[in-house]
Symmetry: C2
Subunit: 222 residues, 2 copies
């Protein structure tokens, strides 16, 4: 069984009302029409039992072995929460005018950082539901623990992956130092905060690592 805090890679498919809403499987996402080119598909690294997935999954992971697969049905309170009627709010029409948006039922809108969906729009009154889209829903998951990540170099690579899934670093350890070499495409992103976050997480998880070096290389093009 997997212990709390273990770094594991999981694959999953999530369904609501019989329809796929999330998956780590690229082919399935394409087939079911929910493919998003911005997502990196494939097993995702998480620390088991630490709230990186919905509560129901997190609990079940701790009862599973590496390589095991399960199908579970989760009530709302173990998934995306119950629906809260207080989160359905009247938003003044001027907020939409300000944003140049014509309020139409079903439209997703971002009001001061909160994502909501317009549920009613008539006579200058616009009702927006700020509940999570899956709040109040029973969801079904197929979940599999693909592997337990072991070995400090692999652990560091996967921690990096949690923060920047598109960048594949090369990790080596020399005594108490971890060396993280980044590929050239890393220059296209503001990685400074990510590097610090990765370092903090590595120091938290691997007590033997005292120092982390990030190496970025630029090669002459001509």
């Amino acid at each position: 069984m997997v212990e709390k805090g273990a770094l594991i890679k999981i694959s999953y498919d999530g369904y609501v009302d019989g329809k796929l809403f999330d998956t780590t499987n690229e082919e399935l996402a394409k087939k079911e029409g929910i493919y998003n080119p911005n997502i990196v598909y494939g097993p995702v690294p998480i620390f088991a039992g630490e709230g990186m997935v919905v509560k129901g999954l997190d609990e079940i992971l701790l009862e599973m072995d590496v390589g095991e697969e399960k199908e579970v049905v989760l009530p709302p309170e173990k998934a995306f929460g119950k629906r809260d009627p207080a989160k359905i709010k009247l938003v003044p029409m001027r907020e939409f005018i300000k944003r140049g948006i014509k309020p139409i039922v079903g439209l997703r809108v971002n009001i001061d950082g909160e994502i909501g969906r317009i549920v009613k729009a008539e006579g200058g009154r616009v009702l927006v539901d700020f509940n999570h889209e899956l709040a109040g829903k029973e969801v079904k998951y197929r979940i599999k623990i693909e592997e337990k990540v072991e070995g400090d170099e692999n652990i560091i690579r996967e921690i990096f992956n949690m923060f920047a899934p598109k960048i594949k670093p090369n990790v080596t350890i020399e005594g108490e130092k971890a060396i993280i070499e980044l590929p050239e495409e890393a220059f296209l992103i503001n990685l400074q905060q990510i590097k610090l976050a990765v370092a903090n997480e590595v120091f938290k998880r691997l007590k033997n690592i005292k120092e982390i070096k990030f190496i970025e290389t630029v090669k002459r093009k001509d």
Copy 2:
């Protein structure tokens, strides 16, 4: 004499109408009331004759030797340009209302990225002068070539300095590779663009360097 393209470090004091407006000398800046805590004082690295300083200075530098000091008086066309009456523009009052600014004569404003100074504001008509503050002025400079930067490691350090004057990297060269080690405070800034710019400049200036490695280190705090 210094050749065009040579990397030199210069110190200077610039005066207009007898008043100091720019200097590389921290003590003088404080004494004359123009000290700016965001500026890194001390000799600045430039490539001679490449437009990194005003035209008149750039020309004179190419006639000077390392260690030499000169005092020069530059006409506007060799300094900050002539005043262009077309750059005094009427800006609609609504632009100020939009920005929540009360237009007052003398106030510096940023209109769509252009910096100007309000020269007239009455009856809803606001006149903004977008000429450089020193346009049309004769300026006097004391300028000294403090050193010529030689040795690839020093050249790379000073190129870095041009783009990020507050960060002091440690540079070593191993064959065709330059290794630039950054101090921990580098994590506070978005350095990705700067690193690429430094690399491009180094490749342009030092034909023998084929590869640059940037190294950033985080040490465990506890």
